[in-house]
């Protein structure tokens, strides 16, 4: 193999001092390189481009993380507590949709869904404009992006099973946050339903 990685100014690793002293030409030869193996210069350029791409990618990812994470991420109880301070401000709110609170509605001729979320026992009414994710359903936590609005949403008289305190969270971006629960959390629910014990009451 005539291709020797390393500084061409230095003798190759296997060369002895006597080789250099004897005036042996130790310059790597380019002929007879291993077939299919790129020349060192090409390899160097490609590798350095990949390194630069990785550094650029890391910088971009961290900037996006900091930018996106700078948006307040509040649980429903915190969002309700800080409602005055958050007036008109866009933030993320996390909560679990309550049973029997979900209803379809329309906002400015757009499809919307109204429901009530709760966190640590504090509830907040929500109107989300757009199609919710496929797994959106009561009992599964969601992360909503939007802002507080004072008053009642158009085309909606009251939130079913909601707080109805004169405020609602107007959301336009919803993600379902699945927790790490893989066991039955409502083991009595099927039995209750079978016995006719479950009702549509809140």
């Amino acid at each position: 193999m005539s291709e020797t990685p390393g500084d061409p100014e230095l003798p190759p690793a296997g060369a002895t001092e006597s080789d250099a002293a004897a005036g042996l030409d130790l310059t790597p030869r380019r002929t007879g390189s291993r077939p299919g193996r790129r020349a060192p210069t090409v390899r160097r350029i490609i590798s350095l481009l990949v390194v630069a791409g990785a550094v650029g990618g890391i910088t971009f990812a961290l900037v996006r993380l900091v930018t996106d994470a700078s948006l307040f991420f509040l649980n429903a109880d915190e969002a309700v507590e800080r409602r005055d301070e958050l007036a008109g401000q866009r933030f993320r709110m996390q909560g679990t949709p309550l049973a029997h609170s979900v209803a379809e509605t329309r906002v400015d001729f757009e499809q919307a869904v109204s429901f009530t979320v709760a966190f640590e026992g504090v509830a907040a009414d929500v109107v989300h404009v757009g199609s919710p994710p496929d797994l959106f359903t009561p009992g599964v936590p969601v992360v909503l992006e939007g802002r507080w609005v004072e008053g009642q949403p158009p085309d909606l008289d009251t939130f079913a099973c909601g707080v109805n305190d004169g405020y609602y969270f107007a959301s336009d971006h919803m993600l379902v946050k699945h927790d790490n629960e893989y066991r039955d959390t409502y083991p009595d629910r099927l039995e209750a339903a079978g016995a006719g014990g479950a009702s549509a009451a809140c």
């Binding site: 990685p5 190759p12 060369a15 550094v55 993380l65 049973a99 009561p138 919803m174």
Partner: protein, 272 residues
């Protein structure tokens, strides 16, 4: 060490490089891995039930449904990413201390396996995220983005290793990056706990163990099988690196012998 080279490097004469990357131990390991993969496939796709539980409203079901099957690959891949990259960092540290090529090659092999597993973690996470979260990617999620950064750091490590340079200088630079990059591992792993209720990614499944029966069994099986696969790949990758170095060294010796012969012939030809 012996599993990596088939025998202890201390008892191995330098000229006796293995002729191939297989050995009796790796063949047994490979057979176990293959059997495990078949078993995992059966458990994950046929025997284990979809994640579906009664919801808070009568007659409704909640859960990840069939998307949960991705967890049997996603979570084991993530765990073995930490192990592989952690081993890379440990081997890098030992290299910087002992300056032994053996540790450098181990770090290289583990970094490659770690990067592949990290890519598997990211891809399966994205495929899972689309139906469950409702998005392929979430830039605001610390776990997701730090995992991407971990992947990029070690992809950069591999790219840096392929920059032509003197072997010792290349190994030293790679070891520093391999060791430094490991700072990210606890950040990625603990992010969902440190930013609890501030991230989209769920908390640790195994720590709280809110999982049972065949779902738990399949997940544990997935972790074992992914471990066997990672070990099998790492051993072979290490041996390939060892053979590459042997071939490079032999090629260099041959080139030097050729030059010496040419110089000797030239000197004889010029003498009266």
């Amino acid at each position: 060490m012996s599993i990596l080279l088939g025998r202890s490097p201390d008892r191995r004469p330098p000229e006796a490089a293995p002729a191939h990357t297989g050995s009796r131990t790796t063949r047994i390991l490979g057979a176990l891995t293959l059997a495990g993969l078949v078993g995992l496939g059966l458990c994950a796709f046929i025997f284990s039930p979809p994640d579906s539980r009664p919801g808070p409203e009568a007659g409704t079901r909640i859960g990840q449904f069939d998307a949960v099957r991705l967890m049997y690959v996603h979570l084991p891949a993530a765990i073995w990413t930490y192990v592989a990259l952690g081993t890379c960092a440990m081997a890098s540290a030992v290299y910087l201390w002992r300056r032994s090529a053996w540790w450098d090659r181990l770090a290289h092999a583990c970094a490659e396996i770690g990067v592949v597993l990290c890519a598997v973690t990211l891809i399966t996470g994205m495929i899972w995220g689309r139906p469950v979260w409702g998005t392929w990617w979430e830039w605001g999620d610390v776990r997701v983005v730090t995992t991407l950064v971990l992947f990029l750091v070690y992809a950069g490590y591999l790219a840096m290793r392929s920059v032509p340079a003197a072997p010792e200088a290349r190994a030293r630079r790679a070891s520093i990056l391999g060791l430094g990059g490991a700072v990210l591992i606890p950040i990625v792993n603990r992010s969902v706990e440190w930013w609890e209720n501030r991230t989209l990614h769920q908390q640790s499944t195994l720590e709280e163990l809110r999982i049972e029966d065949l779902t738990l069994f399949t997940l544990v099986l997935g972790i074992l099988v992914m471990g066997l696969l990672s070990l099998w790949l790492a051993v072979h990758r290490f041996r390939v690196a060892w053979l590459e170095a042997e071939a490079e060294s032999a090629g260099l010796e041959a080139a030097l012998a050729e030059r010496r012969a040419e110089a000797g012939a030239g000197a004889e030809g010029s003498s009266p």
